[in-house]
Amino acid sequence: MMATWNIVKYTLIEAIRNKIYFISFIFALVLLFLARALAALSFSEQGVMFFDFSLAGLNLIGVFLAIFLGVFLLQKECEPKALLLVLSKPISHTQYLCGKFIGYYISIFFVLLLTAAILMLIFVLYDVSINAHFFAAFAGILLDVFVCLSFVFFFSQITKLFLAMAFSFCFWLICHAHNGLKYLLENSSETSLKVVNFVVNTVAPNFSTWNFKDLYYLEKLVIADYLYAGIYAFAWGAFYFLCAILIFRKKDCV
C-alpha cells in the first residue's frame, strides 16, 4: 500500500511540473468562453446551450488529458530503462500500475474541479442557475474519464504510442455513439453488421449511461440511475484496468 501511495505522490509531483496540465487548464478556459459565445447565438435557450457546451468542453478536456497521460506519459515512464530503477525496488508491477492510475486520475480530477469551479462562477455571473443536476453532470464526466483512463491504460499496454492514442480516441467515440450504433446495426439485415453489433455490445461500455448533461432542466433527480451509472462505470473501468495489469505483469522489461 505504501509503495502504491509513493507512486501516486510522485505521479502528482510529475503532474504539477508538467506543462500539459497548465495548457489543458488554459484550453479548458478557452472552451468555456467559446461555449458562452456559442450560447449567445441561441435565440431563447442560452442557459441550456451554455450549460451543454461548457460541460461538453469539460468532458473533452478530461478525455484529452486521460488519453495524453495514459498513453504518452505512461509509455514514457514505462520505457524499459526507466522502469528498471523503480521495479528493482520492493514494488510489484500491479502496485506500480495502480499508483500511476490513481495519480493520473487525481491530477485530472483537480484540473476538472478547478475548471468546474470557474464554470460555476461564470454561471453565477450570467444568472444560469446551478442545481443538483450540475453536480450530477460533473460526476458523470468524472465517471467518463475514469473508464476512459482505464481503457487508455489497456491500449497503451498492447500497442505503441500513436496507435494507442488513435485506438483510445476511436474507442471513446464508439462508446459514446453506442446507442445510435446499436439502433442502426440492429435494424440492418446484413450479417456482418450484426456481428459488429455483437462485438460493440460485448466490448464497449455505453457511455450515455452516465451522460447527465442533457438532464439539466429535468426536475426530478433519479438516484437509482446515478447509482446504476456509478456501478456500471466502475465495473467497466475495473475490467479494462485489470486487463492492463495482467498484460503489464507478463511484460518483459527488455
Binding site: 505504501m2 509503495a3 509513493n6 505522490k9 510522485y10 509531483i13 510529475e14 511540473r17 508538467n18 515512464e77 520505457e79 530503462k81 526507466a82 522502469l83 528498471l84 530503477l85 521495479l87 528493482s88 525496488k89 520492493p90 514494488i91 510489484s92 507478463k250 518483459d252 522489461c253 527488455v254
Partner: protein
Amino acid sequence: MNAIEVKNLNKSFSAGLSFKKNQVLKNLSFSAKPQCVTGFLGANGAGKTTTFKIMMGLLHADSGEVLIHGKPISNDTKKNLGFMPERPQFPDHLNAHEFMAFLCNFHHIDQQKNKIKQSLDLVGLKDVGNKLIKDFSKGMVQRLGLAQSIIHSPDLVILDEPMSGLDPNGRRDLIHIIKGIATSGTTVFLSSHLLDDVQRLCDDIVLIDQGKTLFSGSVEDIQKRTSAKFRLISIQNGSKKEEVFETYTEASAALQKYLEAGDKIIDFSPYQSFEQAVMELQQR
C-alpha cells in the same frame, strides 16, 4: 550459502511476429560467494544484461532458477538488494535529492535526509542534490545510479556496466567507491568490458559466452586454466634467477622446490595478462 545461485537458466526472445526464437541463455549456471566482488564477463550479446534482469525479476526466464541468499526473487528479497542498470534513466522532473527520497520510501528508511546526504556524499554528488537530473552529465548519472543502489545499505549490489562511458578519472573514482562498498561487507556482482578494472576490483569471475558459462572461479584460477606461462623470480646463491614455466603445475613444483631449499622468492605470477587469459578462454 551463496549470495547468488543461478541454475540452468534458459531464456529466448522471439523476433517480432516470427515464430523463430533467439535463445539468449542456454542452461546458464553459476554462483557468487557472499562478501566478495564477483565480475560477470562476456562479449556483447553474451546474455549478461538478460541474466541481470532475470535476477531482478524484470524478465521472466523460460526455465531455470535464480536464488538470492537462497530465496527466489520477490519484494522481500529486493529489500536487501541494490541494482544499478546499464546507463540508468531517471525521471526528468525530479532532482537528485527528490529521486533518492522517492526510492527511500520503498525501503521505509528512517532519517531519510541523512541517508540521502550520506549516499550522495559517497559518490561525490553532495553539491548537486538540488539540481534536476536531466541536467546531469553522464558521469554524474552513473554516480547517482550507484548511489540509488546502495541507499538502503543492501547485502548484495548488482551493477550492470557501472564504468561504461566514463573517463579515466571517473572510472578511478567509481572503482574506489565500489571497493569501499565491498570493504564494508556488501557482496558486489558487476559486469564490465573493462578487464583492467575487473582485475583490480574482483575476487571471482564468471565468464559467459552465447548464454553459457565458460568459466567460474577466482581471478588467479582463470590464468591457471589458460595456457598462461608462469614467471618465477628467485634469489639463488645470491644471484637473481628468472624462469618462465609453461604450466602452473610446473611452476608451482619449482616454487615448492626453491622454498624447501631456502631460496628467496621475489615474484611468482602469471606471465600472461588477465586480459589475454580471458580472451583466450572466449576464443576456445
